[in-house]
Every structure is written in structure tokens, then in C-alpha cells.
């Protein structure tokens, strides 16, 4: 069974859910699915489907890079860590010094998302720096 067939349910679901710029490519026995999801719920659903086809993602034959489209108009983000404070760093990377912290649940200003993993943010206290985008949720 080809990889396209194995993950057909996933690519079909992505198409049906309105994932834009969808690209499905196979290279060196790995399938690459890239695209932009219209919402976080769509992304979660695709990952659930992926998990059902390849439980615990152990096959190593798929790289799914489907990110959620964050509108340019979004200026406020909520800190959605498990429970802890979120480090704000001088530059994009955990090797960078911490210049501030944002509390769990705090709503802060999104300055720039030019780096996909590290967003430039500013707290109400005026602390500005990079925070890990994984823990930031755009406010509608």
C-alpha cells in the first residue's frame, strides 16, 4: 500500500475541512503533508485522524505540517501554558536570556509572528521579547 493510500483518509479530511495551500508530497519513503488549517479545531481533528491511522505516530513515514492561520489583525494573545508562567526571552530560542514572564491565563500583546515558533510579544508591564508560540492562543 502506498503512503498516499495509507493516509488517504487524512488528506481527504484536510481537503474537506478547508485546509488551504494543501500540498501532499512523497520523498524518500516519507509523505509530507503541508497546509494551513482554518482553525485549531481542524488541526486537532487532523492529528486525531493521524493517530488513528498510525497509533502514537511510530511509523515515521509521515511529516504533517499543518499550522493554524493566525490573522494579521490579531493583536492579543492569551498565555495558555499548563499552569506555569511563560518565559519571555531576549531572542528566539531557549538559549536566550529571560527578560520577563507572563502569567498563565494573562492576555498580552502580539507584536510580530515573523518567526513561526517564537512570537514577539509585549506584556502590559512593557516587557517585550520572544515567547514560545505553542503556549500562546490568539484572542478572537
Amino acid at each position: 500500500m502506498s503512503l498516499q493510500d495509507k493516509y488517504k483518509q487524512l488528506t481527504d479530511a484536510a481537503t474537506a475541512a478547508g485546509v488551504s495551500n494543501l500540498q501532499v508530497r512523497e520523498q524518500d519513503n516519507v509523505l509530507y503533508i503541508d497546509g494551513t488549517a482554518p482553525s485549531g479545531a481542524v488541526k486537532d481533528e487532523l492529528w486525531n485522524t493521524y493517530d488513528s491511522i498510525d497509533p502514537n505516530f511510530t511509523s515515521g513515514d509521515l511529516v504533517m505540517n499543518v499550522n493554524v492561520d493566525v490573522a494579521a489583525s490579531v493583536t492579543k494573545v492569551k498565555v495558555t501554558t499548563e499552569s506555569s508562567n511563560l518565559n519571555i526571552r531576549k531572542g528566539p530560542g531557549t538559549d536566550q536570556p529571560i527578560v520577563g514572564k507572563a502569567a498563565h491565563g494573562e492576555i498580552i500583546t502580539l507584536v510580530s509572528q515573523s518567526n513561526a515558533q517564537w512570537w514577539l510579544v509585549r506584556t502590559d508591564d512593557g516587557e517585550e521579547g520572544y515567547a514560545y508560540a505553542q503556549y500562546l492562543t490568539p484572542e478572537a
Binding site: 509530507y32 502514537n56 515515521g60 504533517m64 515558533q117 505553542q134
Partner: protein, 162 residues
């Protein structure tokens, strides 16, 4: 007078019969268009008929379709010959190759990503992220999307899921 009428009648009947034997260009065109409509391989072709000569043009899927269009039409009633001006749709360009992140940048990004997942060890070599250690299922479902968005060649997941 009577003879004239008879002659006229004969002329009309003859004309009708003659036309009946050799269909008009418009009828031939309509018949060919119907054929194009009902034959998927002929999709994209258009036809013009002048004095029984059918000229087909338009863009068809491939060379086989182009030949087939001609063959189908050549045998049709009233068609004297076929001028095949069909062009073949060029194949789509191959997709751009998948870009894999360089090890230096990938290692840094992976370090950032696994920092908050105690018990998970990650190693990067030639674009392949190898994960070892153990993880809870919930955490795995959070970590995997992040790692797979870093443009790795693949993620070799050897984690024990608790």
C-alpha cells in the same frame, strides 16, 4: 404547364434526396459536437466544418486523445476529411521538492520544543529527529505537531507511551 409542374416536383424531390444523402455542414458539426460531449477522451476539442472538411482544435489531455479525436470523426457521416489542429495539454510541472531544515537550526528548534517535556530525549541527525524516553499520550499529542512543523526529514519516534 403540367410538364413544368412535374419537372419542378422532381427537382424539389431530387434536391431533398440529395441533401439527405450528404448532410449539411451544420448537421455534421452538431453530430461531431455531440460525439465530443459524450466521449470523455475528446474533452476540450472544438470543431468547425466547411464543405465536409472537419477542422478540430482545442486542448486535449494527451497525444492518445488527439489521435482518437481524429479517428472518431473521420468515420462519421458526411465527413470528407479531418484537419487535426488539437494541441496537447502540457503535463503539470513536478511539485517542488520538500525542503528539510538544516541540522543546526533543527537541533536548536527541537531543543526548544522538548524543553517542557521531561523524560523526552531528542537527537537530530541528517534531518531525522529521533525521540527516546517516555511520554504521556496527552503530551505526545502536543509535542508531535510542534516537531513535525520544524521541517524535519522524518520523526523517528521510539518513545514509550505511558
Amino acid at each position: 404547364m403540367k410538364l413544368t409542374k412535374v419537372l419542378m416536383a422532381v427537382a424539389i424531390i431530387a434536391t431533398t434526396l440529395f441533401v439527405g444523402c450528404s448532410p449539411k455542414d451544420a448537421d455534421i458539426k452538431a453530430a461531431i459536437e455531440e460525439k465530443i460531449k459524450t466521449t470523455p477522451a475528446m474533452t476540450g476539442a472544438t470543431v468547425e466544418v466547411t464543405d465536409g472538411i472537419a477542422t478540430i482544435s482545442g486542448e486535449v489531455k494527451d497525444g492518445e486523445c488527439k489521435t482518437m479525436c481524429e479517428k472518431e470523426i473521420v468515420g462519421m457521416k458526411g465527413v470528407k476529411s479531418v484537419v487535426n489542429n488539437c494541441t496537447v495539454t502540457p503535463p503539470p510541472p513536478p511539485p517542488a521538492p520538500v525542503v528539510i531544515a538544516a541540522d543546526d537550526a533543527l537541533t536548536k528548534a527541537v531543543t526548544d520544543a522538548v524543553k517542557d517535556f521531561p523524560g523526552v530525549m531528542a537527537d537530530v541527525k541528517d534531518g531525522v529527529i529521533t525521540l527516546t524516553g517516555e511520554i504521556k499520550k496527552d503530551a505526545l499529542k502536543k509535542l508531535m505537531p510542534v516537531l513535525q512543523s520544524l521541517k524535519p526529514k522524518k520523526v523517528d519516534n521510539k518513545l514509550t507511551v505511558k
